[in-house]
Symmetry: D2
């Protein structure tokens, strides 16, 4: 359908008049809908972002080379390398809403404190020895942990060890940038507390199943839990599969266990713009193709398998990341037991009533 063609005038006089009209539109900062509606309002989401896989085997060495060449400190703030969606014209956006990066901190290094409106988390695919200090609360970062830094919390990181450590960061930077919502403030050049406790104060106060401190009865927009530990995630997934073995309802679908990380003050997502989940597939499981409004990023945590993105199968190993743009079909295939961390912009889609999901018929 070419609306413009269809609406083309017949006579040269009309053509000239139309050209003049469009010129006058330009002068007055006006643009006709009728020539643009096909692009602006497609039949279904037509993302410029494309599905893409980043191999950890490429990412980690590049992060390491950065560690050798680029200092970390005030100004640059973080040695974080963003994954740029090939479809998004060179912007450091993994999707229109989400930022994903590998962050690398050398032995004994400190990333200085700052805070910003953007919501952030870190997920640790390997390593340990770094503490992130969130509003003065030192939070250990270890393999399999999800660490939150909701908007406007001061935070800095420091590496206590003689070895470097890398992890992934997830933020809503593209969304915030696009919609002009972000504030930013520098904090301390060094982190405010170099203690290295096993558990943060936030966990000690909040990470007890089904219990809430009486001193914290207000609902908060983001989760007060700074660290979601791997041992809990692993146990929850293990139990789901055991329950399935026992014939009990527990998994999302046969062979597919999954948890959502939530804010204990309301049972909802950990932060207003970002959903975080962890998925475990039994070896041999294939999930049906799914299309969802909104974009997601997965990282393989353990095991191997493949993802079929928009019909194209791509092999996945530990650490590999991939992005699923809006309304692109995705399906997972587990070669071994297959563990994947996932984050997405689903809270945006749900809170604004744009969410839709289509699950393809597995039997076709």
């Amino acid at each position: 359908m070419d609306a413009h063609t269809k609406l083309k005038p017949i006579t040269p006089e009309e053509e000239a008049a139309l050209a003049e009209l469009y010129a006058d539109f330009g002068t007055e900062h006006l643009m006709p809908l009728w020539t643009q509606i096909d692009d602006l309002m497609p039949k279904h989401p037509a993302p410029k972002a494309v599905p893409h896989v980043w191999k950890w085997s490429k990412l980690y060495p590049l992060a390491k080379r950065s560690g050798d060449l680029v200092p970390v400190g005030r100004g640059g703030e973080r040695r974080a390398i963003g994954l740029g969606n090939p479809g998004l014209g060179g912007r450091p956006y993994i999707s229109p809403t989400l930022w994903a990066a590998i962050q690398y901190l050398g032995p004994k290094e400190t990333a200085p404190e700052h805070r910003h409106s953007q919501n952030a988390f870190r997920f640790v695919v390997e390593g340990e020895g770094v503490w992130t200090v969130v509003n003065g609360d030192p939070v250990r970062m270890s393999r399999g942990d999800l660490l939150l830094t909701p908007g406007w919390n001061f935070h800095g990181h420091h590496n206590e060890t003689d070895k470097p450590m890398a992890w992934i960061d997830g933020l809503d930077i593209p969304f915030s940038y696009q919609n002009d919502v972000g504030f930013f403030e520098f904090g301390s050049e060094r982190v405010t507390d170099y203690a290295t406790p096993r558990f943060s104060r936030s966990e000690r106060l909040w990470a007890h199943p089904g219990l809430r401190p009486l001193s914290g009865l207000q609902e908060t927009a983001s989760s007060p839990i700074a660290a979601y530990r791997w041992e809990h995630t692993d146990r929850a997934l293990t139990e789901q599969l055991l329950l399935e073995d026992e014939g009990q309802p527990a998994t999302v679908e046969q062979g597919h266990a999954a948890i959502r990380y939530v804010n204990p003050t309301n049972g909802g997502d950990v932060m207003p713009t970002i959903r975080a989940e962890f998925h475990r597939l039994r070896a041999g499981t294939k999930t049906p193709g799914r299309r969802e409004v909104g974009s997601s990023v997965f990282q393989v945590f353990e095991g191997s398998g493949a993802v079929v993105l928009d019909g194209k199968e791509q092999r996945l190993d530990v650490g590999d990341l991939f992005v699923v743009p809006s309304w692109i079909s995705w399906s997972l295939q587990a070669e071994t037991q297959f563990d994947l961390f996932r984050f997405s912009d689903a809270p945006i889609m749900e809170r604004l009533s744009f969410a839709r999901t289509h699950v393809e018929d597995a039997h076709r």
Copy 2:
């Protein structure tokens, strides 16, 4: 103020006319407000229920004698002995809204399955060896555990051991009775599953801090967690006091740690009508006098101390229960470290906007 007197007519004729009017009111099932308003609408809550302490040292032996004399089974359903508030005229109500009972199950006994609209929980002050089977899910009952049976869940109990076990039951029976909301259905004469797993399926699915199964994303009126284990409660309270020692905000007030048991699907109370909490006071702590709209029941779990109820101090030992009627001042005094379980009708008061609290000035 005596409205009736004040309004009394002057002449004998008027008096006769008034008597006739009141008689006609009676015939037509009418009652004047003006003679009753002082009672019906007091200046502040004027509960008929009175503050009262029940000693565990009296309760337990009576429960044991019941165990010897009264069988448990279909019809009587439960060997539960309700605590009747002395002010409530012989009704088995510990307060206008709440039922509290000691329940006793002999060696190898089974209490048959049934379900009802009334919300119920059990709290275990001592002992172990009983499993309560909630909608087919066997739930171990051990010291310090809170076990939920929200409205309309089938449930029965069985004692696996050669020793009796007793615990307390809390329900909203008076509220349900008064307001005509209750349905009741018999289930199996024996419990449907005599397995004795260490953890119920509900815990395995739900009791992971800050994690929610993807198969359970709907908000539910009551908590899906059947058992809140003592080890978690104890750890949460211990951490609060340690954090206080470290100068961090964590406790309700100096020396007073407390948690609320919550529904992980929304962060709110475990059941629509009943709030459950656990309080720990350091030795020597005295809480300020508090008045609250709505009624509460406390049970001492560990330690010793006293409660001041409406100005009268009463000593408390392990297992003792006391009720605080609406707007009666209460204050706790800890001789040793002092652990108390509490339940109340606060969700009713809050959901219906009747909640009010007054904390007395500690320095008066």
Copy 3:
């Protein structure tokens, strides 16, 4: 089922021991569940309250006689005559939760100001000339209007005319009394503002469809609209029936239009404990039998017909009131176009998750 009988011991020794046990229970303020469970936890709501009809032709003359004999003023506060459910043992309760009364104010009389936790409304079946002053805002009371006095708002009434006026009051007095939630405070002996504006300030600020003042963006527990005017109610019902005539979905069921009065700050009920609705049936309409948890009161506003309460048909004329206790079947039959005001405790039932409805098959 007679649990007590079933559990009766066999030997005289056992009988004596049991009697002693029960005596000791009494001493310790304990009551066994097993002898009481049938009454306490019935198979379905078994209200002590009974369905009952009060005839306006009886009520109004009695109210008038009260006007001649009983002064209105500080102490008695209101010349309100409560409808006492014949099943509720002489208490001035139309149901376990609700109070309904006819209130009568003579020419030029003033009912003094006071406030209380109890939520109140007035509905005017006939007459005009009284203003109720709610927190200083004079609110005209006219035929067909619903006037709100949510908990803790000062209010008094005054009659501007030379004629008496009567209306009905609805409150949650029994619920408040039973659950000890009520506070009460005297205000001015005379109303604070004797102005007689056509519209209250609350209406001028709030009663515009779909519009909210920017100065009032907080959600409030009760509606900020003091008066719901008959002209709006009548028009809404008229439109529903016209839309039905046009084949559009608009009515609850064929021939049955109905509106709920709502709080514009959240779309929910006007007050936390009381629901108010207005129903209009076309002549000839019969509604299917309905059972609901919770109690309702209806008043006929216009037309004539009948109600079938628990299988018993009773004729209704203008002004007649009837109560439907919990789980009692009710069905309306319209002889003429039939207009009824209804109020109920449904918000209590819904907020506490006790609500259930059963609609009988119309074709049986």
Copy 4:
């Protein structure tokens, strides 16, 4: 702050290594944060969009010329001319989230039916004679009315008269486009109902103050009211100023009346992404400077005055539109009584917890 400079390596070898690193980043679709953080995460919102005023005296004639030259029909769908923010690089976006356009429909013309995920409204600054048919419900469009077309409602327009009509459209097209949430479907080539009733069925069912049809008790994401009529808006604003004259709290600030259009099912915004308000200033009123996160568009409905945008005063006449990008200071000055319609993306900001407001001290 120039992070890149600061981090520049010292030796030529390092420089070469760094260049190679950045080249390898490019190959792997990676972008360093440290060179981009200043732009990506500014100290406060730094919108590319600029404040801008469009004069109705320019817009309307251009729309009229389009009417003469460009047909309306399937394909182009609408004769809508979008206001393109001069800062947004030629995109037809008035702000990063919002689309605003003038739409023009000639005598007897029909704009065909379609539906889309994008939420839309129309506001009529002058004229009448067009009906918009929303899901089969014909809705009259007249001066001062706000007409809603929430996402996924079929809608088309037709002009009944011999005169053209123009109005403004507001949508969340840029937000939907940017975040890939949109679906689009064609409907009927002609509108499905050419009736021209004075009131739409939606108004007849829903536009009664404080009343809700019992047939519509579910909360809906968008308002069920299709038309918010000028007479109600005008009356609400008039009353606010009268109440202010009487010394009552009613206005936002002295001399500034305002209403928000709301969804009667929950009291919240009319649609999930768009807030709509109407403001009236008394002659002579100046509002304090305000900065808000998120963007707004105003249209002058009546009167004259000025707006100060980011310190620059611009005169405004009837029909003029202006955009306030995120965190740009704005202040209104009323020469005459000054009426302005406003819409914004505030629901997005609030639902995602990005909202912030700063009101400048009026006395500086």
